[in-house]
Symmetry: D2
Subunit: 361 residues, 4 copies
């Protein structure tokens, strides 16, 4: 690759925006040439406008960049990463797509549109073909590609492996979500010290729906949702990064009946399926591809956010405590880094697939 592709980060001062900046430092394909922010921040240097919350130091090139307005007129780059709040994304992202820019968006605004890919390259790279529909229907020369909600990400990777091997019918999912998922300033410290908040606005609806789209089937310019059903409960806990989800999964008819309930062979087969899951060939060798896609741990008490969230550079989905479920078939714990695999890192991985498949310029 002779020259790097110039990109911009929209809403670069927030917590997901900062993660974009940190992960794009020294990226082999992309070079950040612009950072945007709210009107209040426009004109300031990035290091003045931004309350940096990551333990990794702010890259020097970013510190000196001026914060610009989020305006397609002035940002003529082939690719932007969007960390915009959903309401703003709804307004602004189409302008970029119309102007020929590819938008890799972490916002939820367009995830439910039939012609917008909700994309995880290790799960459903074929959904990228929706871009052709999107361009034709909307008359855009660019386009919008979304990544899932931070809690949906790890869970969907896990369900994909099980879906392929056994079919999935019903899923109970209870999340213990990190503070960085709420942005900055986000959760007040007085609300979470010595506490749990058993509610995150709008989250359960996303978790119950998004994996069904990602595991769904392309059908006439849209996606037919996967046939399983999900019940989600979302909790906020005092963890900085890393969403943990406990899953109980009922598999398709035939896999389990009473006589097989304690069949350790079937449990071992599920373990093998998770351990051996690989990304489709198109996505396997991209720079941000998780290595491995799924890390299955055998210890009784793993994964844990503090110890496992940075597996595979934060892109790997870590699964543990795989065991029989007394009511359904399988029970397990899934951990995924919410601002890397579940947000900025996932979006960058999407962009790499876009480049690889020739959707850019």
């Amino acid at each position: 690759m002779p020259e790097k592709i110039p990109v911009a980060v929209l809403a670069a001062t927030g917590s997901v925006g900062q993660r974009f900046v940190q992960l794009l430092d020294d990226h082999p394909w992309f070079k950040v040439v612009a950072l945007t922010g709210s009107p209040r921040a426009v004109g300031q240097r990035y290091d003045e406008a931004c309350h940096w919350v990551l333990p990794e130091a702010m890259p020097g090139w970013a510190a000196a960049l001026p914060v610009q307005a989020t305006d397609p007129e002035n940002l003529s780059v082939p690719l932007v990463f969007s960390a915009l709040p959903s309401r703003v994304a709804r307004e602004v992202e189409p302008g970029f797509a119309r102007a020929g820019t590819m938008v890799c968006s972490n916002a939820s605004a367009y995830r439910r549109e039939p012609d917008v890919p909700l994309l995880m390259p290790e799960v459903n790279p074929d959904h990228l073909s929706l871009l052709a529909v999107q361009r034709e229907q909307r008359g855009w020369s660019g386009g919008i590609v979304t990544n899932p909600n931070c809690t949906s990400a790890g869970m969907t990777v896990t369900l994909k492996a099980l879906q392929d091997a056994f079919g999935v019918r019903r899923v109970f999912a209870v999340s213990l979500q990190a503070l960085s998922g709420a942005g900055y300033p986000g959760v007040a410290s007085l609300d979470i010290l010595d506490n749990v908040i058993p509610y995150i606005e709008g989250e359960e609806e996303k978790v119950e729906w998004e994996s069904r789209k990602m595991l769904g089937t392309l059908r006439e310019g849209g996606v037919e949702l996967a046939g399983f059903a999900v019940s989600a409960h979302a909790n906020r806990v005092a963890v900085s990064d890393g969403h943990l989800v406990t899953l109980s999964v009922e598999l398709e008819n035939g896999h389990r009946n009473d006589s097989h309930k304690n069949d350790s062979a079937s449990l071992e087969r599920a373990a093998q399926v998770l351990r051996e899951y690989t990304a489709p060939p198109a996505s396997r060798d991209l720079p941000s591809a998780p290595r491995p896609v799924i890390l299955l741990r055998d210890e009784p008490d793993r994964p844990q956010p503090r110890l496992d969230r940075l597996a595979g550079g934060g892109m790997t989905t870590v699964v543990g405590r795989l065991r029989q479920d007394p009511l359904f078939d399988l029970k397990m714990v899934v951990l995924s880094h919410n601002t890397i695999r579940g947000a900025a890192g996932g979006s960058i991985y999407n962009a790499e697939l876009l480049v690889e498949q020739g959707w850019l310029g």
Copy 2:
């Protein structure tokens, strides 16, 4: 009540033992006359032997008491509260029962014995009649009465109200448990700061079984387990006190079918059932009775451990986020104070029922 009943606390220096001491301060019926501890502690003053971890100050009378050995020979009181580790309880508690002492035990050692009541006075006071079986079969003049595991407690109260009204068929329970549930020193700070531990040894088995005994039916000198099934997942979180459990409950046939799924009337009926649940008459007016038994909160983000654990002096079960479950029928969050309602407070409430029903001397 003319004179207070002299009682002892076994294993009084641990975190549950301390809670017994704190809750028995100024109890209207009981007066603590002895505290026991491990061989290392015997002979020391209680305030020297004990690393006190409660925010409530150690009562003055306790500070000066000498720590004694846990020995039925030397402790001739009609009633002891046991905070012994399970392995020790297994050895030691029968000696007290044989010697004519009633043991109100927080240990798990005898919970599964058919003739030992697993008792919550607001749930199954009738199970106390097992004591007659126990005395006859074992030739004891005292006896052992157990209270449930700290996580089972709040969940069982909730299921009891639903069981009475609708019948319960299947339950998914995911807990977020407090540090004090692991005793002292218990969980190392390096293991839980900025972290979740998705595993607690032996806990899930207890949670999946204990509510079935408490909601079971007396049958020929034992208890026929309630017919529902539970799948439990236990997590440890950075909270000092207060276990939170998310429940998804499938009710008996007939209550829910697809046409009723969004029936807000049925949801309102469930709310009413929870709100109006009262303890059986025998248990209703005892000193430690929870007032109310269940507090149903309407806010979207409650109950929370820090804000709700001390409802009803820590004896009330707080339920919130009652809503339809996409897979089963009802979904909700349950909070219960683990060292009060779930341990020492529950044990004291049991003892009050024993006194009221004439089982003491």
Copy 3:
């Protein structure tokens, strides 16, 4: 006292305002008849307008009160408690004083005015006589009385006892301050989890000055500052309530010289001075008087915020680790509840002194 005095709480929805409401529940002398809030909140019920952050439940009478505007015209009560932000307090509090109302203010706005008492009843009740100067100079029929910054409070009580006995010359003070001191939402959770913030804006200046005024001498209509000097460093730590301050104190000439450095007798004398300190007679028996004023603990590792902040209902100053200082004379740790003794409770104690001394109507 035949009838309670009607009072209002200004800025009742914030974290200090909530503490006023909680502490005034069932107060023997005062009855809250009005709660005020920001324009956005006016007209709402208090329980709707307020994100309640205290573990103690919101009193029922408060929940139903309508939030009113902070306007002396409409609030004709003899006494208001002000939890206003300093900038607003600067504007608004004189209006109340002019209208004949006594303002007991937690704001820093008027603390430095020569004719405004900076008052702690257990330290300097005589400073209340400045009110006469204030009324005369400003032509007010009411007045403003302030309480100190939350960090200055406990430290000043301690220095008062030492000042009386030995004289104080120089003080190094390093604070570890609780989150509730920053109000709500205050400190973002991402900023304080697994972290310390070694800076609190404007705090060190207050700590270096306020105790000098409170320990100063009345002089011609003002206060001559006490002659000692203070160097303060303020840190924010992950604690909900309770400010801890480490003090190194140099006493007046004559008390210490090299030959006395290891004189345990002089250390014991300092301990006695702290232990036996009592409030001046005027303040000793008021309802909110700390009992005791200073609690001196002997354990090597106390005071600790979680275990000691509620000593004396949160009004007592807890001192521990009293020892020789290698550079100055004495070294110790001081703990004081920042929203009780250091804010709302202190302000109520001030109000009680006002009533007792006949300054109200």
Copy 4:
């Protein structure tokens, strides 16, 4: 360097031992060939014997190593890193030294011996010459070199820069120390959640003495302590890694007097001294040399443990909030990673200096 030097880590399963293993992964000069542990662990694989607490994954080569006994007979390597508890180190380390092994020890056991270097290569590399005295006096062919206590480390680097430029006379130091400094399991979570512990056994004595030895002068086979005096107060806070120390420093006569107190020029000169401090030439280019030695930050609220502890790979001392002190001359905040610069990393840096100066076989 043609071949790596084989080394062993003593007490490799503890929290400092783990940090040695992690930092020695891929070290350019050293190759770990043996790990030792307590009798209980001997014979197990390292990954079975060790409760790994670091977020960095355990290196694969370490996982498979068998844990050996800490016995000089069986460990014939030229260099060992000791994470032994002080009491054990006292017994065991001389055996290695006698057998010709160089011991780089993190234990406090021999720090106070006149002929044992207390070494920080960026501060006092010349103290290494004590090894000749040590070998002669004790008849050893190996030797013991110690690194300072984790809290002394960052503070001593800072004082060294000031000492060289201005002379230091008196220092007040108050520390806010991380949990990993107490080892594993160390501090119980119930003791530190929502709390501060204002006491660490034995810590203040070390902090008040160690920097005086490191900044002292070589004199007839020993070190004459530096002439300044320190008063230290140690607190434990809920931080995983990174000790923060607030310093007030009085400089030598002549630097400051009342007329210079607000002299911003002198403050700027101190800033320059800190910013430009470099390690002596012998230590400057070693693999573990901190780059830079001191990082001076300008923001009002830095350094912070979570954001700054990994500066320079955890070897850099981060200083901030440099300002005039109202009583002494300078006030500042110092942060240093306690298990890297303050323990294992410092010990490895010492070993590199040993190699460079030809003290190894």
